[in-house]
Symmetry: C2
Subunit: 334 residues, 2 copies
């Protein structure tokens, strides 16, 4: 396989000049650069990233650990990251923790062994010490969609308080009074924050409005269906007139269970979801939702990370919070 010295010989320059052309093209005259490029093409030389990585001590790849690659919300975030990294010629190594701390640790081990330049993570387990160690060994870290108690890592998150409030205010403004919030487990930060904001909005609205909480054991369609079973067991008069689902997957399960039970959406019961994944707009009754700027969050996180990598000591810790947006569709009468 062709080496730098072969390229240098064919181009009639020193190996150091070839190295400059590869790493600092502006230091080389256009003529020389063209000669070197022609030699590279002719010899089929490929720069060996392993050698460069060894000299630099790090790996240009960026590692990313997401909670659930089966949820389109996270693939939207990953696409936002990927769009930025592709421009930078940095490959994205995507790991799916599937919400299991053991898988998360496994990926962190791999990333540490690979001495990557940077890691984006939505933590599931208690990994703060691991992240500190990564950072101390030269890997930059940015948190995505989840804050930790420690504010020492830059983070990009979404404003769940605002999301919970605008969804609930929309239901109240369209005349709904008996709202049920379906989601869980309750200890998940997003569920906790959205529910608290919904409660506050109902209190501030006053009058006859009330909010009930049906806790689920997961954030998927099956959990939504199970949640509806509890509602259907109630006497018709006590049934809610609106469901606020903690995410769109739950909302899709709620829509299915209500449809199969012969209830009309939105006439009998309105539904609003959260995330605005593509499947919300293409549901049989298009679902209202709270749009999360998932793709933007990925892009902002990737750009923040690239800033930290460029200047690990100098870059200030930043906590960016992106705002969600109400999307009204037919499931709430839109």
């Amino acid at each position: 396989m062709a080496q730098v010295r072969d390229v240098a010989a064919l181009a009639g320059v020193s190996p150091a000049t070839v190295s400059n052309a590869l790493n600092h093209p502006s230091k080389v005259s256009p003529d020389t650069f063209a000669r070197i490029q022609a030699a590279i093409d002719e010899l089929g030389y490929i720069r060996n990233d392993a050698a460069r990585q060894l000299r630099a001590g790090t790996n240009r790849a960026i590692g990313m650990i997401v909670l659930d690659i089966g949820n389109p919300f996270f693939t939207d975030v990953a696409r936002g990251v990927e769009d930025v990294l592709l421009d930078q010629q940095r490959p994205l190594i995507l790991g799916n923790s599937a919400q299991q701390p053991a898988r998360e640790t496994n990926y962190l081990d791999l990333f540490e062994q690979q001495r990557m330049d940077g890691v984006l993570i939505t933590p599931v387990g208690d990994v703060l010490d691991r992240l500190r160690r990564l950072r101390d060994r030269g890997t930059s870290v940015v948190l995505v969609d989840r804050m930790t108690r420690a504010k020492e890592f830059s983070s990009v998150a979404l404003d769940d308080k605002m999301g919970g409030r605008i969804a609930t205010e929309h239901l109240l403004a369209t005349g709904r009074e008996r709202i049920v919030f379906i989601g869980g487990p309750a200890k998940i930060t997003q569920v906790k924050t959205r529910l608290a904001a919904a409660r506050l909005a109902v209190e501030q609205h006053g009058g006859a409005a009330e909010l009930t909480f049906v806790e689920t054991d997961a954030m998927n369609a099956e959990a939504g269906r199970a949640g509806v079973e509890q509602l259907l067991a109630l006497p018709a008069k006590q049934r809610p007139d609106a469901v606020f689902a903690a995410n769109d997957l739950i909302a899709l399960g709620v829509l299915q269970a209500l449809t199969l039970a012969g209830l009309r959406v939105p006439d009998d019961i309105a539904i609003i979801g959260y995330d605005d994944i593509d499947f919300a707009a293409s549901a049989a009754i298009p679902l209202s939702s709270v749009r999360q700027p998932a793709h933007d969050m990925g892009s902002v996180a990737a750009r923040t990370l690239i800033g930290v990598i460029a200047d690990p000591a100098g870059s200030k810790v930043q906590h960016v919070t992106l705002k969600p947006q109400l999307v009204v569709r037919r499931s709430t009468g839109g």
Copy 2:
């Protein structure tokens, strides 16, 4: 940062023994291994994969290029790959071509620069020459879900002919006679094969049964909605009594458009999709579908690739075809 020689000194062994413990643990006695492990922990030594990679000439990571990371079918395949690779301590570098040849080439460039051990690809452009070059430079290649004219690379694919046939036979067996196939563009291999198999099944059934083809410009929910608009323009008597959608995303769009137009599924029109993504089962009217063993396909592809990597010259080229399965739900009267 701690080096192998520091570990060796602390454990009271030679550097070669430390190297054996890291690379061939069975060559080292349990006692020695425990001493070395303790030294590694105490010093915080981390093996440098860049150095190892440089010596070996390749990178343990596996690159994978998928067509559309927003389609759950492909994330299911990726999860199947990931489950196998995680056991092998090999990171997965996932790239999304988004069906754009330029993005595909970009990822192949990165994978070539990184000198990866292996690449899994569902090709979109004409990349046969690129794949040959990758292979000649020591990167093993396995094709996923798509055959090329050249049979020189091992591949794992799905039996679309069988899938097209069983979906159509199911519609005919439940008394449907005017079937419309919605999907496209027609040049996509999967669309072509499924449609041809559907036509054949209708011909063999004989009688009054007929099949019409409505070509779409994409394989998503929006295309399904657009396809239904053409059907709704027909006089009621000429309307089909069944839709065979080329994938589940299209089927979801069809279900939505029919529901919003006041048509009943399955009473007026039955729908069957293809892939059996999670969203098919959780649609408002649960969708019948052709289940593709996506996760299995990913696992088989990963294991095939690992076999080729272990013995690039000796391993026989293999073409595995996995069988789909009919899943009957309410949208076809199940």
